[in-house]
Amino acid sequence: MSWRWLDLVDGSFRTWPAAPERPTPRSLRVDARAVEPGGPATWVSWCRFEGEESLAFDDGAVTAALRRVVAGRWPVAVTTALVDWSRIAGALTLGTSRRDVEDDPFARVFPRTILEVPSGSLGTIPAPTGPALTRYGSGNPWPWDRYAGQVA
């Protein structure tokens, strides 16, 4: 698995390959599967702090949102959006209907925008197979699903 930088530029999502430097001042790291074209999503819940604020990766509000995401009906994709290897500043949730994304638990943590996008423009992430937690120093957006993949 890999991650990519993501930013909302003039109302459209733009992505860049993983790299140490942020390509734009407001870009965030997301799970690359969420922004890989070809998925069925047509609605997006884009949660993001307005400024440069961010939360620790294990902030209680973030952990609670992750648990609510896992407990509920999984949409097309969910990924946290990271500033760096330990700070979170938002999340991206993709669905095929407005209802899929309206109840996004991350909207209780970050300011949120709901956007409509063309089908096929974004990707898919299957429901995670690991626990609803992230780990310090991983630098990887949740779900970063190692359990789903062959390790050796």
């Binding site: 952990t63 407990a71 429901a127 310090y136 359990y147």
Partner: protein
């Protein structure tokens, strides 16, 4: 960790031992005893996980299967991250073919080992936990039996993982191969 946890494990193992002995001959009574025993553990045992008391769908005789395990599968070693950064390794050692869909069967690749079978279905996120349920987890006593290389898979005994009950737990959840397309309205459910 403690003698009370040992007691919890013994009592869970005894519930499943009773199921293995009696569920084929007297399925409704066996299920009722299992649920009563579980209710008692969840309401009074010092090591109960907390949270809501388990509730269940009615008995579904059509969702009990005894099947061969198809071991002609590519072994895949999987790792699930734990909260402390370590990983819990599993190996897929077989696949079962059921009228309701196919499921991979895993072996817990750490001390003691054990069979592990988690699944998701179309009830997840609405009438059951979004993270799915477990059917077998033999290291914790959840073993429904089966002889001669066969496994009993009775979805009336499907149960929510501990992370459904308490934030203190971090559970492995069903991988993509173990997602059943239809609703499995049997076993433990949400209100």
């Amino acid at each position: 960790m403690s003698l009370t946890l040992l007691d919890w494990r013994r009592r869970v193992a005894a519930l499943y031992a009773d199921v293995r002995r009696t569920s084929e001959a007297e399925p409704i009574a066996a299920l009722a005893r299992f649920r009563a025993g579980r209710d008692e553990l969840f309401t009074s045992h010092p090591d109960r996980p907390g949270g809501p008391r388990p509730i269940y769908w009615d008995h579904r005789p059509d969702l009990r299967f005894e099947v061969d395990v198809d071991t002609d599968v590519q072994p895949a070693r999987l790792a699930m991250e734990r909260s402390d950064g370590a990983t819990v390794p599993f190996t897929r050692f077989g696949r079962v073919h059921l009228p309701i869909g196919d499921l991979d069967v895993y072996w817990l690749d750490s001390y003691g080992g054990g069979v592990f079978l988690p699944f998701r279905d179309a009830t997840c996120g609405t009438s059951s936990y979004g993270g799915g349920r477990y059917l077998l987890d033999s290291v914790k006593g959840a073993d429904l039996g089966g002889e001669g290389g066969r496994l009993v898979l009775d979805f009336n005994y499907a149960y929510h993982p501990s992370c459904f009950y308490s934030d203190a737990w971090a559970c492995p959840l069903a991988p993509p191969a173990n997602r059943l397309p239809g609703p499995i309205e049997a076993g433990e459910r949400m209100a």
